[in-house]
Amino acid sequence: MHGSGDAIKRVVEAFERSNWTEIDVRVGDIRVHLVAGGAASAAPTEVPATPVGSTAISAAVGVPSIAPVPVALEVPPGAHLVTAPSPGILWRSPEPGAPPFADVGDQLESSTTVCILEVMKLMSHIKAGVEGQVVAVYGENGVAVEKGQPLFAIAPSRQMS
């Protein structure tokens, strides 16, 4: 019975009697995506408990949520790049809603935290590494980043020899 019409009906009924805002689950080639108060209708809507092709699914969700690395980073001459020391999730501020640790134009000490990298549930503070001014920010809050991916560019206050 899994993924059957009955099962889909149970999901839709559960959605209608709950205050859930959205669900999106898939079994095999069945996807059930329901959004409350959708634009098309006022009632807890619809959505196509539509069978979709498995090819379409893998195309849609097989793409990892990795932040696109700009093909050509605009790195100002002489700037120091802060890169991710390992794969992880990038957090730009100490808590949700708080201002970012560092943004373009900020003047930083070498020991200033520029972001948090979450790896296997551990939060690592990433430091600027040089004294200087932030000239570019490459990563977005909450995205997965790869090892070595540039996160910040900092123009050093003193020319390094």
């Binding site: 019975m1 899994h2 993924g3 059957s4 099962a7 889909i8 149970r10 999901v11 559960a14 959605f15 709950s18 859930w20 959205e22 669900i23 999106d24 689950v25 898939r26 079994v27 095999g28 069945i30 059930v32 969700v61 097989g62 990892p64 949520s65 020391p85 390992s86 794969p87 992880g88 999730i89 100490p94 808590e95 949700p96 948090i116 979450e118 790896v119 296997m120 549930k121 551990l122 939060m123 909450g142 997965a144």
Partner: protein, 453 residues
């Protein structure tokens, strides 16, 4: 069994463990997977998978409505939450009941009272269980600093929804408390979906001892003996054993009596663990927390009692009475578990996600490996670092140690760094052999004198 098909709302080794328990019991099993876990071992062993969202656990494993919808869509009649994630969120147990699903765990009210560490301290106290000094939950840095001034430093800053040592930090000064509060709260939010924190007085020389409980829906509660989990780094257990060999008979009995008393007070149903700090010098103990779920280290208890705890969870959830009473539970031999984590011990325990290129677990008769690892598995960065639990039994503690050392030596894992060299050092140390360690020992004695590699 009336349960016919179980949804596993978890990942990693515990998902594998639950899948295997279901299949052994003739129950269909479906695993809920994030995009990062579609090709996991649990997914391969299950009857089928339901995809519940992106790798970020806040958008998948921590969403109650996704889990419920996954169970309904896949035709499941029960949900097993494993440990971590939603396992101690009463909302999931409530939602299961609301939508006609069996929750494999205690009732929502028990989870609320036991899983909320602040409330649990209150209930333990009312059941006559000793509790140390500490606080109710604190909502801000300022409140935390004010409470800590009363309790006295050092203190432990702990997640109210925590467990397994996550979101927990030792703090020695008001300044340190102010600087750590937000991060600790966020780690708790990320791990458990609840950022509330509380404070507890820090005990310097203690052993961590816990008691495994099983309760059914017919008023029966038994304990399955104790475990010693004193080998910890940053409150993360690295080596666990059963029984807690360090306990004298009288203290052992007082501790298990306290655990059962708390279980009775909570009308406990399902598998649970009551954790204590034990002060051997004063022959005394105090309540830490009750975990209303399966525990990572449950296998050591299984190995010395012969009782399959996950199977019992399923039977209890199905309404069956326990098939044994306290007198039937006997402890035989000794078991040790090493939690092998994907972390680099030569690089300050830096997490080491990546692809496993070689995987050769030991195969001796006295070795059990609970793991989701295999050659080619890509250990993702989004979740905790546990990759294998190496569980070794012996006729006595010395034999279990000797065999564990040989098993650690022969367990080859390439492609990721693991904590295995540290566990080898622990088991080879005289202090561990002589059982004289405390919860501080690893960090204050072993690590400073140890050079890995």
């Amino acid at each position: 069994m009336t349960i016919r098909r179980v949804l596993v709302a978890n990942r990693g080794e515990i998902a594998v463990r639950i899948v295997q328990a279901c299949r052994a019991g003739g129950i269909d099993v479906i695993v809920a997977v994030s995009d990062a876990d579609q090709d996991s071992l649990a997914a391969r062993l299950a009857n089928d998978v339901v995809r519940i969202g992106p790798a970020n656990p806040a958008l998948s494993y921590l969403r109650v409505e996704q889990v419920i919808a996954a169970a309904l869509l896949s035709g499941c009649d029960a949900v097993h939450p494993g440990y971590g994630f939603l396992s101690e969120r009463a909302e999931l147990a409530d939602a299961c009941v609301e939508h006609g699903l069996v929750f494999v765990g205690p009732p929502a009210d028990t989870i609320r009272r036991g899983g909320d560490k602040v409330e649990a301290r209150r209930v333990a106290h009312s059941a006559g269980v000793p509790t140390g000094s500490g606080s109710a939950s604190v909502g801000s840095v300022d409140a935390a600093v004010a409470v800590a001034a009363d309790v006295g430093y050092p203190i432990l800053l702990k997640a109210a929804a925590g467990g397994g040592g996550r979101g927990m930090v030792r703090v020695d000064t008001p300044d340190a408390l102010a600087s750590r509060f937000a991060t600790a709260s966020r780690e708790a939010e990320a791990a458990f979906g609840d950022g509330r924190m509380y404070l507890e007085r820090y005990v310097e020389r203690a052993r961590h001892v816990e008691v495994q409980l099983l309760g059914d829906h017919h008023g029966n509660i038994v304990h399955l003996g104790d475990r010693d989990c004193s080998t910890q780094r940053r409150f993360q257990k690295l080596v666990e054993e059963a029984p807690a060999a360090v306990l004298a008979d009288d203290l052992r009995r007082r501790i298990s009596d306290a655990a059962v008393a708390l279980g009775r007070r909570l009308d406990y149903r399902g598998a649970g663990t009551v954790e204590f700090l034990v002060d051997l010098e004063r022959d005394d103990f105090s309540f830490l927390e009750i975990n209303t779920r399966i525990q990572v280290e449950h296998p050591v208890t299984e190995m010395v009692t012969g009782i399959d705890i996950v199977r019992e969870q399923l039977r209890i959830a199905d309404g069956e009475p326990l098939g044994f009473d306290q007198g039937d539970v006997t402890i035989s031999g000794h078991a040790i578990e090493c939690r092998i984590n994907a972390e680099s011990v030569v690089d300050d325990f830096r997490p080491s996600p990546g692809t496993i290129t070689h995987w050769a677990p030991p195969t001796e008769a006295w070795v059990r490996v609970d793991s989701h690892g295999f050659v080619g598995y890509d250990v993702p960065p989004h979740y905790d670092s546990l990759v294998a639990k190496l569980i070794v039994t012996g006729a006595d503690r010395d034999e279990a140690i000797d065999r564990s050392l040989r098993a650690l030596d022969s367990f080859r894992i390439d492609g990721i760094a693991t904590t295995s060299p540290l566990q080898r050092a622990v088991l080879a140390h005289d202090d561990f052999r002589n059982d004289t360690i405390t919860t501080q020992w690893l960090e204050t004695t072993l690590l400073p004198s140890w050079s890995p590699g």
